[in-house]
Point group: D2
Amino acid sequence: MVIVMSKEATEQDLEALKSAIEELGMQVHVSRGEERTIVGLIGNKRNVEGFPFTSYSGVESVVHVTHPFKLASRDFHPEPTIVDVDGVQIGGGNVVIMAGPCSVESREQLMESACAVREAGAQILRGGAFKPRTSPYAFNGLGEEGLKLLAEAREKTGLKIVTELMDLENLELVAHYTDIIQIGARNMQNFPLLRELGKIRKPVMLKRGLSATIEEWLMAAEYVLSGGNKDVILCERGIRTFETATRNTLDLNAVPVVRRLSHLPVIVDPSHGTGVAAYVPSMSKAGIAVGSDGLMIEMHPNPAKALSDGAQSLTIPQFHSLMKEIKALTQALGMRMEGLPLSV
Amino acid sequence: MVIVMSKEATEQDLEALKSAIEELGMQVHVSRGEERTIVGLIGNKRNVEGFPFTSYSGVESVVHVTHPFKLASRDFHPEPTIVDVDGVQIGGGNVVIMAGPCSVESREQLMESACAVREAGAQILRGGAFKPRTSPYAFNGLGEEGLKLLAEAREKTGLKIVTELMDLENLELVAHYTDIIQIGARNMQNFPLLRELGKIRKPVMLKRGLSATIEEWLMAAEYVLSGGNKDVILCERGIRTFETATRNTLDLNAVPVVRRLSHLPVIVDPSHGTGVAAYVPSMSKAGIAVGSDGLMIEMHPNPAKALSDGAQSLTIPQFHSLMKEIKALTQALGMRMEGLPLSV
Amino acid sequence: MVIVMSKEATEQDLEALKSAIEELGMQVHVSRGEERTIVGLIGNKRNVEGFPFTSYSGVESVVHVTHPFKLASRDFHPEPTIVDVDGVQIGGGNVVIMAGPCSVESREQLMESACAVREAGAQILRGGAFKPRTSPYAFNGLGEEGLKLLAEAREKTGLKIVTELMDLENLELVAHYTDIIQIGARNMQNFPLLRELGKIRKPVMLKRGLSATIEEWLMAAEYVLSGGNKDVILCERGIRTFETATRNTLDLNAVPVVRRLSHLPVIVDPSHGTGVAAYVPSMSKAGIAVGSDGLMIEMHPNPAKALSDGAQSLTIPQFHSLMKEIKALTQALGMRMEGLPLSV
Amino acid sequence: MVIVMSKEATEQDLEALKSAIEELGMQVHVSRGEERTIVGLIGNKRNVEGFPFTSYSGVESVVHVTHPFKLASRDFHPEPTIVDVDGVQIGGGNVVIMAGPCSVESREQLMESACAVREAGAQILRGGAFKPRTSPYAFNGLGEEGLKLLAEAREKTGLKIVTELMDLENLELVAHYTDIIQIGARNMQNFPLLRELGKIRKPVMLKRGLSATIEEWLMAAEYVLSGGNKDVILCERGIRTFETATRNTLDLNAVPVVRRLSHLPVIVDPSHGTGVAAYVPSMSKAGIAVGSDGLMIEMHPNPAKALSDGAQSLTIPQFHSLMKEIKALTQALGMRMEGLPLSV
C-alpha cells in the first residue's frame, strides 16, 4: 500500500501519519518526489484493512499495489485448482458442459432435458428449483419438489446436478440434493450466505455479480475459501453496461484475467450473458476458445412454453448441433472433454 | 406490451402468435406498417409476465409500454406516501436528516455522535450493528450489542433509529430494536428477505443497488408492498459507472424520475454516493435542492479512528456547519424541516 | 509513478528496469515489502509519458500517483480562473445562465427566445448553427445563416453568444461571430481541433465526453491551455451509464471533483444531462446548489415544433418560473448572479 | 414507431397528436389497452425523425420498433458485404489478419514488423502515422513520413496497408497512401469527417466508440454509406465499463449482434480491447471463434522500446505462435484464411 501526500502536506502531517502507521504494526518507507511525497507501508496488509488514512491531514490518496485476496490468489497457490464433482473434474484442462432448463417445471420436461443433455455428451444437468425473479408476481420455482426431480434425473442419467441456492434457510436442503451449489449473481455479495458456504463440504459455483469487478468477485470467493471450503468454481455470466442490444454484456476478458490472478476454475454462461438464444452458439464457441473450463447453457424441450428465460434457451436440436462444434473446437485447441463413465 | 414481427414473418407466424396470446387470456391488436407488423396485447399484463414471445417464429422483439410495478406506481396511488416513524414524517415536503457513524463502535462513540446529531437539529440516528464488508477479514459490526447501544441512544436523545438488516436470521432481532430497517444496496434484490419484510409492520428503507435501474429498484419496493407493508422509503446511494474519481456516482437524476413514477419518499445518501468526505457538503445541498425527502449522512467524532468508512465521514463541526446551510436552503426552497418535539 | 514488481521478479529484472528508468533521466527509489517490491520514479513525469514499463520482465503493474495534467491543475494555479466574456464573468462566485433553443431555426424563433432569455435575467444566449446529429438524414443546422441571426440577437438584446463548433473548417467563421466557442461532447477528444483552439484568443466551453473520466476531460482542457488559450470553461452534460430512464446521467459529483483538482470554471447542462424537460428544473436547482458556476438550459418558444431536442426544452413560462427559483437559491447560498448592464 | 399516452391523457390530447402525425404525412393506428392507449405510426419513418412527440400534452413516451439505419441494415441488403482490398477479401467467410506496430517509428522498425507479419501469413499491415493521444505532450506520429514508410513496406512485402485518419485536413493525403482508412473510436461520431468519407472510393474501417451502442455504430456507418461509399468495415475494439482490470472491455457479443442486424464485415481488435499483451492471445482466439471476419493485432519488434501502446503489443515470436493457433482454429470452424498471392 502506498499513501500519496498532497502538495500542501507539512512535515507534521507526515510525522502524524508515520506514527499512526507504526502503531498499526507496519513499517514506513518515505519517498520524496518532485511533486509529491509518497509513503510506502511494509508489513501484513491485513493490519490496515479499511483504515481511514485519507482522514489524516495532508493525505491525498491511497493506492493499493497488491490485491486484497490471499486464498483465491495465484501468488500463494500457483497450481490450478481442480474441483472433483463425484468423478467429473472441473479445471485443469478438462472442458465441462452444464446444460438444462432455466427452471425445473415438471418431471416430463426435466427428464426429456436430462436425456438430451446426456446424449449430447455433456456432464452436468442444470435446473432451477428456487428462482430469483425481479417481479414478485412471476413463477419462482417448484422448491423441494424440483430438487427431488433433479435427483431423479441424476439417478436415471448419471449426470451430475447443479442448482441455485438463494438463502441460508434452504442451505441444508439444497446441499442434500445437489452436487454443486450455484450462487446467483444477485447473491455474490450476500456475505452471511458466503460465510456458511465456507463451512460445508460441497462445491460452490459463484456467479459474478452484475456490476462486480473481478477483484470483488475473487473477494467473494475468498469468503468461502476462508471458511475452509476449497471447492469454489467461478462463473462469468455477463455484466451490466450501457449496451442494450444484449441482456447483459458477457465479459470474456474476465477469463484470462481470472487465470492470471487466481487458481480457481472458471465457467462461462452465454445464456444469461447475452439473453438471446440466437447469440448463444457463437458466444459458446468464443467461451471455449478463450480458455475457460467449460460452459453453462440453457436448453429447453420447448422454449416457447418455458416458464422462465425461454428467450435465451436453445432447443434440443440446436444444443446437439452446438455440442458437435464445441467438441471439434476443444480438439483443435488441444483441450480435453472427458465425458461421464459409460455405465450408469 | 407490443410485439414486433420480423420482416420475414409469415401469415402463419402471425396466426400462431395470435393463438398463443389469446390462450393467455389477452386480446390482440394487429397494426401493419411499411416495414414491420406490430402486435399489441390488450388485457391484464400479469398474464404474460415472462412469457417467451421471442421464442415464437417470426418475432423480432418485445417492447414494454408500461412499467411492471403496480403498488409502487403513481398511476394507482397519485398522492405521495408519508411514512410516519413514531411522529417523524418522511415524505410530503418535510425534510428529514439521518446522521451518525457508519458502524456502532462503542457506547462513548455512539453517545457523542447521537448528542451531536440531536443538537444539530437532525431527527434520526444512523449506525450499523451488522456490516456488509467486501473482505472477510474486516470488522463486521458489534451485532446485538450495537443494537442495544442504538436503543440506549434513542432513549437518551429522543432521536429515531435506522440500522441495517443483512439477513432473515436477524429480522426479528433488528425489528425489535430499530425504528426503520435499512436494506443495503447489495441486498436490494435479496428476494426471500424482501418477501419477509412485506409481512412485518415496520418502515423499510430500501437502498438502490449498485447497478439497479430505477425500474428494478421500484420492483424491489413492489416485493415489500405486495406483502402488505406500505411503509417503504427509497434511498439513492450512488451507482457504479466508469468514473473512478468518486467511489460511486451519486445519481441525483433518480430523484425527479422516482417522483414522476412513484408515490414513495426518497432519501439521498451523499456519503456512500461519493465516498469522499470533502464532496459530501456540496452533494448534500444538491440532494436537498433536487427535491428529495431528506439525507442520510455519515458523521464520526473522530473519522481518523473509524473502524469503517472513515474516509467519507464528516467530523462533528463539519456536520453542524452543513446543517446550517441545509436549513437555509430548505427555507429558500419552500420546504419544511420539522425537528423532534422539545421534550424527550 | 510507482512500478509494482511481480512476486516472481528476479534481481536481474529489477536491475534492467532500474537502468531503463535511469536512462530516461529519472531517479529510482526501491521499496521491498513482504509481498511485493515497488519501484518509485522521481523526476519529471513527462520523461516517461507512455513508456511501456509493463513490457519489462517482472513488472506487474504501473500505478500513477499524480494526475497527468499540469496547466489545468490547481496544484500550479491555486486561484480560480475567471473567464471574462466581454464583461460577463464566468467563475469566481458569479452564477451565469446560458439559455436558448437547441438549434437556431428562424429569425422569429431566435428573437423571441433571446428576448425571453434577456427578460428572465440570464446573461448568455445559446443556439446551434452547426448541429451534430446521429442520423445523416436529420436537420443539421442553418450554418452561417444561423451565426448571423445569433449576432443579430446579441445586437438587439446585449446578451453574449455561445454556439457549437464542429470542425476545423469552420473555426474562423464561428470564432468571428460568437463570444464563446462550444465544443460538444463528441469532440472532447478531437485532438487536432483542440490544438487549434489553443492558438486563438476566444473563450472555449468544453463539454465532457459521454464516457470521459474527469481526468480525461481535464487532459482535453490541457490541450487547449497548452496552446496558450487560458479561457477554458468546463461543462458537465451527463455521462453514459446503464440507466435508461434518463437520456444521460447528469454527474453532479463532477462539480466538487473538478473544484478540488482544477481552477477552471464549470457549468452544468441539465437539458442534455437528463433529456427530459420535466426533470430540468429540479436538476437545475441541484446544479446551482452543488456549487457550479452556472447552467446551460434549453428553452424554446414552442418545443412541440422544435427541429431538434424539443423533448428536453422548457417553454418560455417554465424557464421564467425556474429563473425565479434559481435567484432565490443563489441568494440563500451566498452566491452572486450579476446580470447584464441595463443599457444595451 | 409507437407513442404511449399517459393515463391522464384526454381525448383532446389524442386528437391533437393525431393531427400532428397526419400533418407529417403518416397514418395513425390507435390501440386502447386497459392501462394505456398506444398510437402506432405507419409510413416513412424519416418523416418523423427527431420530431418532439413527448412535448405534446398527454404523451408519456415514444417507443421505436425499428432501427434507424437503412443502408447498413440486413433488412434491405440480406447478402453479406465483401470488401475487396486490392485482391484481399474482407467478409464472406475469409479470415483476415491485420497486424503491426501501434505507431510507425522508423524504417527499421516498420520493415522488421512488415516482414514478420508477411511471414506469419497475415494479409494486412497496420501502423499509425497520425496518433490520437490523450496527453498533448505525448508522441503523436511521424505524419506523412510514416505514410511513406508504410507504402514502402507494401512495396516490399505485398501486404495491404491500414492506417488511421484523424481529420479532414489529411483525408486526401492518407487516402493517397493507404489501402484502408481507419477511423478511430474517438472519431466514430465525427460527422463532418464521416460525410466526406462517403464521397471517396476507398475502404473505411470504422472503430466502435468507447461508449457507442451498436445502433449508434451502425448509424455512423450509415453516414458513410449514405454518401455513396459502400466499402465499410466495422471494428470492435472494446467499450468502457466499470471494470478496470482491462483497459477496455472487448465486447465480443457485438459480433453476433452486428451479424444479425447488418451485412457489413466486422473485425475484432483484442489489443486495444484489453490493453494487456498477456490477454491478447486468448481474446484473439475467442474473436475468431465468435465468427468475426478477422483480427487487428498490435505487434512490435521490441515492445519495451515502443513509443506508444507497448504494454499491449505482442513480440514477433508471440505473434507467430498465435498465428499458428489461429490457423488451426479457423480450419476447425470451417472458415477460410486466404493469404496473399505468392508472387509479390
